[in-house]
Amino acid sequence: MANYIAALPPDWPGGFWVHFGVFTVILLVFVLVMALVIIYLERRGIGRFQSRLGPNRTGPFGLLQPIADAIKALTKESITPAKGDKWVYWLAPVIAFVPALMIFAVIPFQDGALLADLNIGILYVVAISSVSIVGIFMAGWGSSNKYSLLGAMRSIALVVSYEIPLGLAIIGVVLLAGSLSMNEIVTSQSIPFILLQPLGFLIFFLAASAEINRSPFDLLEAESEIVAGYHIEYSGMKFALFYLAEYCEALAICAIITTLFLGGWRGPVLPPILWFLIKVVLVFFVFVWVRSTVPRLRVDQIMDFAWKCLLPLALINLFITGLQVVVWPEGLPWMVVFLNLAIMAVLILLWSKLFKLGGGRVEV
């Protein structure tokens, strides 16, 4: 079915619109259903890590828990703070949520099955994901609450700093694939890029955790410090939008990681869509694992980590990848995997010895 729709000539009367319409519906359904699934997976996963059962009362095995959460969020009263800027406050969740949905337009579910096969796919992704930060700052500002303003400012500093290593890690993949289009990146992965670019994968993983505000960089929703940060004053449907936006962004990042590094829908026996889902869930499981295990870093330590550790490593990674692509233009042989792993080990050891997480007491 997907092949049939993808093969319709674009100048067929209404052909483009059929393709567009069908895919939009598929994507919306996919994103919303998968968001509910990963919310459930996270709750159960964290529960098991903490040697307790997760939610298991609502429905068999607690499967209806996210739906119960959604119903709870929808039936709560929406309170607007009196002194805040009303339009900014109202628009913020929308602006934070929509970019997360828009990223899925360029993720390939099968060879050629995307909403829009842009030839600048990955650049589009990087551009769109920076828009949601505007929504977060609007939320912090419009709430007229010192805590949310503090949280929003921290988050802007964080996201802007981590965009750079993120972009540099992506360029490494683009060099190997030879194109910015997401479909081409997947089709050129005869060896999954995670093996060819282990350092790039690590940098991307950490920078992406910071972008979506997950542990250990989750000072935005640090409950124990600034009490839920930028979404303190939100309740009801607006809060549900923020909550959903966070998980949709996490899902988007998982999808991007599978596309860029794990080989997208490629796999031997099962249908491609199933491979895609398995890989996305696996990457999300690693996110949950890191969240439930690791304490949180302080703001200035996070900044130091981005600028002094990830950025130089990303630059070195880019340089080495560039060299390798020049030496072997047709495609890198298997031996390069071991070379790259060795380089990564050396670099990480070097940085862990030289790098001190900064900050200290300020004389007052």
Binding site: S292, V294, R298, E363, V364
Partner: protein, 367 residues
């Protein structure tokens, strides 16, 4: 031209997930750095010192449970020690050993909560907290076997303890004491060398030795600053002089040291319980004391080493059935004296961690 900044006042209000109760800190922030701090408490002030002036000595024991509700056995013990000092009552041997076992179990339970919430403040999303609560459940089950209560025990009596322990208690205690060192090792394996924990707590919130002694800090806060002072060794009460145990101290006085001191104290408590169980003599558990006790005119100050510090009770009696004056020396309130100096200059996230490392309980701060 330098950018002009203006400090703003933020209120870490009484309802906050991380202030361990209803405690308020008015922080003046310059950017992220804390410039000034004013602690405001008394949201839980119940006027206990006035309340007890109309109650008999035995009726005050349940009230002392509610002081530091996380470590009730120690509060009971401190009060009963003070009354026995005042009235000159001796306690049978078996009761003394049972008191020691309960007090040390309570110390482990209190430190589990302290370390768990401290790590929760550091951001490890409830995982170490849940692991430590798993052990605390065992301890609370033991207490339930003995006195039927899970939180406010009311177990000590003037002249002994209220009931003897059932046989299943000693069996369960034996099992607990065998397993606990492995759990403490598990915590150490997961946490002691964790890079992020070290980065967050090493060198943060240093309390220098001189300031600690001058501010009358006590308990793990004092011992973390390299002062070897523990009332169980310096002024032994009950039968503590018959046990062998060490006193762990920190070296610098930062949050990491206080955390290590608490973990090591848990190990030493297990050691004491093992020795107490071996030496437990048979006998009665309560000496004959009049229900309406009338101590002779005088005063006494009885203090013990509670989990949070030196918990003392000052009693003045005028030969009537109720005390003339009861004053409670709250270790957590006095540990907070140095809070201002410990937090200034650090960032708001460190303020939460430093505050958590002092480990207060509002029932005792406010009384």
């Amino acid at each position: 031209m330098a950018i002009r900044t203006e400090p703003f006042v933020i209120n870490m209000g009484p309802q906050h997930p991380s202030t361990h109760g209803v405690f308020r800190m008015r922080l003046t922030l310059d950017g992220e750095v804390v410039v000034d701090l004013e602690p405001v408490f008394s949201y839980l002030h119940r006027g206990i010192e006035k309340l007890v002036e109309g109650r008999t000595y035995a009726q005050i024991i349940p009230i002392t449970d509610r002081l530091d509700y996380v470590a009730s056995m120690s509060n009971n013990l401190a009060y009963v020690v003070a009354v026995e000092k005042l009235a000159g009552i001796t306690v049978p041997e078996r009761a003394e050993y049972l008191r020691v076992i309960m007090a040390e179990l309570q110390r482990i339970a209190s430190h589990l909560i302290a370390v768990g919430s401290f790590l929760n403040d550091c951001g490890a999303y409830f995982t170490p907290f849940m692991y430590m609560y798993r052990e605390r459940e065992d301890i609370v089950d033991l207490f339930e076997m003995v006195c039927g209560q899970r939180l406010t025990y009311n177990y000590m009596r003037i002249g002994g303890v209220s009931h003897d322990v059932p046989d299943e208690f000693l069996v369960a205690l034996d099992k607990f004491v065998r397993r606990m060192p492995y759990f403490i090792d598990e915590y150490d394996q997961l946490l002691a060398e964790n890079e992020i924990l070290l980065a967050r707590t090493k060198g943060v919130g240093i309390l220098p030795k001189e300031l600690a002694i001058n501010s009358s800090a006590a308990g793990p806060v004092l011992r973390g600053s390299d002062v070897k002072w523990d009332i169980r060794k310096a002024d032994p009460y009950s039968v503590y002089d018959r046990f062998e145990f060490d006193i762990p101290t920190g070296s610098v006085g930062d949050c990491y040291d206080r955390y290590r001191v608490r973990v090591e104290e848990m190990r030493q408590s297990v050691r004491i319980i093992k020795q107490a169980m071996e030496q437990l003599p048979p006998g009665e558990v309560r000496s004959e004391v009049l229900p309406l006790l009338r101590p002779p005119v005088g005063e006494a100050y009885g203090h013990i080493e509670g989990p949070k510090g030196e918990l003392g009770f000052y009693l003045v009696s005028d030969n009537s059935i109720a005390p003339y004056r009861l004053h409670i020396r709250p270790p957590t309130l006095i540990n907070l004296t140095a809070l201002h100096d410990m937090i200034i200059g650090w960032k708001i996230q460190d303020a939460v961690i430093i505050f958590g490392s002092i480990d207060i309980c509002l029932g005792e701060v406010d009384r």
